[in-house]
């Protein structure tokens, strides 16, 4: 008698029901195993709130994946310490200077093509220029923030920061650790010398800015302006515009020499195991509707030309070809190659 014959119909039904129940119980685990995880870096603050509340959940739903968003600095040492064939991040979000550093170490890919990220066709040229590694999804403009209640005329030139009346009431950054400070140093070379790479002129101009209050975080400059500890300081436009409508006596000025671009750059790590998802994420971040939500949430200028911002934001942010033409993109590859020497020199100047 075969085994099959020995199993009664009732027993077979019981076994079948048991297997079905086991399969149903195991199903979530199987589904979970199939759900891919995208590991990204992202900012905190208001940006992080919007990302967590709306942008990332919508991406996860559409692409049926989990996004693990790391907001805890420092991103670069963590990425450097992780294995190249299984990097800690699939998408690296940093400012432009750090992307160049990452490229030098082979931690990110050098270019992102339209084939991988179709929305690149709609971005302003600066977002994929030769000064960018990866793609810039937003930019801020580094200019001058100032108090409107101190009897100061709205600054029209970077040279206005050197006004003797502002001695001790002007603000800058600890240059070795802050990219706004580094960009400002290059701008001093352009304003007082032959160009962004004229370091001798920049050092002389930096010396002339003393006494100057220095901070390491950009957020601290906002607070110093709000508290009246500085009357004028180097800051990005979003750091001032975010107080729009709150009756704070602060405003932002675009100097005639131009403003420096502070790009928010996304790039993919070469060893990512979910590269297609990583590119999909960058493409998603360039969608007009996603760009609008974030641009209006944190006052960043969107890279996508097709984004239609509300009038309040459109009036101030860099949303047209003419406005974008005022943006100056520093050569971070050049700067990073000299960073150690520059750090030593500026530290000596600002300590002295």
């Amino acid at each position: 008698m075969s085994i099959l014959r020995s199993i009664s119909r009732r027993k077979a039904l019981r076994i079948g029901a048991g297997l079905a129940a086991a399969a149903a119980m195991g199903a979530p685990a199987i589904l979970h195993a199939q759900t891919r995880t995208l590991k990204i870096t992202t900012w905190g603050g208001k940006w992080g709130e919007i990302m967590k509340a709306t942008v990332l959940p919508a991406f996860e739903k559409e692409f049926k994946c989990n996004v693990q968003a790391d907001q805890a600095f420092p991103f670069m040492p963590k990425l450097q310490a992780s294995p190249r064939n299984d990097p800690l991040y699939d998408v690296l979000h940093t400012n432009s200077n750090e992307q160049w550093g990452a490229l030098t170490e082979g931690l990110v890919v050098d270019k992102i093509s339209v084939k991988d990220v179709p929305n690149i066709v709609d971005v302003f040229p600066y977002a994929v220029s030769d000064k960018i590694v990866g793609v810039s999804i937003f930019t801020s403009a580094i200019g001058l923030g100032f108090r409107t209640d101190k009897g100061l005329a709205k600054p029209t030139s970077w040279k206005d920061l050197a006004d003797p009346k502002l001695a001790g009431a002007r603000g800058g950054y600890i240059i070795p650790v802050n990219s706004l400070g580094q960009a400002h140093l290059m701008m001093l070379g352009k304003v007082y010398g032959k160009g962004l790479t004229d370091l001798d002129a920049a050092y002389r101009a930096l010396e002339a800015l003393k006494p100057i209050k220095l901070v390491d975080f950009t957020g601290q400059m906002e607070k110093m302006l709000l508290a009246g500890e500085v009357s004028m300081g180097v800051i990005h436009d979003s750091g001032v515009y975010r107080y729009d409508g709150t009756n704070q006596p602060v405003d932002f000025a675009i100097p005639s020499e131009g403003v420096l671009a502070l790009e928010q750059v996304l790039n993919v790590t070469p060893g990512s195991k979910v590269k297609d998802l990583a590119f999909a994420y960058i493409d998603y971040m360039l969608r007009p509707n996603v760009q609008k939500v974030l641009a209006e949430g944190v006052w960043y200028s969107p890279s996508n030309k097709k984004v239609k911002l509300d009038a309040k934001y459109d009036a101030k942010l860099f949303t047209t070809e003419a406005k974008v033409a005022q943006l100056i993109q520093p050569d971070w590859k050049w700067y990073n190659a000299r960073k150690d020497d520059i750090d030593a020199r500026v530290t000596k100047i600002l300590r002295g």
Binding site: G48, Q68, A72, T218, L226, A227
Partner: protein, 273 residues
Amino acid sequence: MTATLPINRRPFDAGQTAYLALNAALLFFLLAPIAVVVVFALNPTPYISFPPVGVTLRWFHKFFAGADFMNALYLSLWTATCVLVLSIAIGGSCALALARGNLPGRGWLTAFFMSPLMLPAILTGLALFQSYLLAGIGRPVWGLILGHTLIAVPYVLRTTLAVLYNFDRRIEEAAAVLGASPTRVFFEVTLPLIRPGVFAGGVFAFIVSFDQFPVSLFLVVPNGETLPVVLFNYMKYDLDGAIAAASMVSILLALSVVLALEKLIGLKTHVKL
């Protein structure tokens, strides 16, 4: 007729006055940052301003209402509690072995166990992070707890060794002579006598873990950050009173632990902290 009573004045003591002035200056130096934190936490302006323009609890509300803050606070407390237990177990055992074990190279072993304090904690964090990744275990919470324990064990070791070196061994010998087994001597004589030293180290271990930043920086995962890491990242974007409120809560929590242990164990009657 009124008589003027002679006033019994002590002669001016310049040395004592200078001593008191120095102590007052040191106290001011130690307490001034806490005073600034209190002012900032209660001031309604979203930036540090002095004098304060009013009193508000909005920053405490923001702190306690923030899911990120609360998750981080819970993780920090959980981690610090685990570290407290682990470091007491490991540090106490090591101290006993070093003080009583007649181990060869005892000096070297003591230096070895104290070595995590010699290495900058940021390097310890980076080294652990890389080791975990290379071992393929990622960054689990227990990895964070082990990292903190590594830093905290020397504190327990040092305070326990101090008690053990001042220990009158005749008490143990008396217990043994009276018939107590070695196990009984340990649990009924040795352990109660070294307990204050062990727990004093445990208090340090808890506080060191709760405030630990450099090691945590590399070992935390997204949505699983400890309070110091969350505060550091928050400060980069929003330097408002919520930071001060969080600091106040941290100070009060640390103080509560010290007071609770003092109440339970009576640390100050046994050891000078």
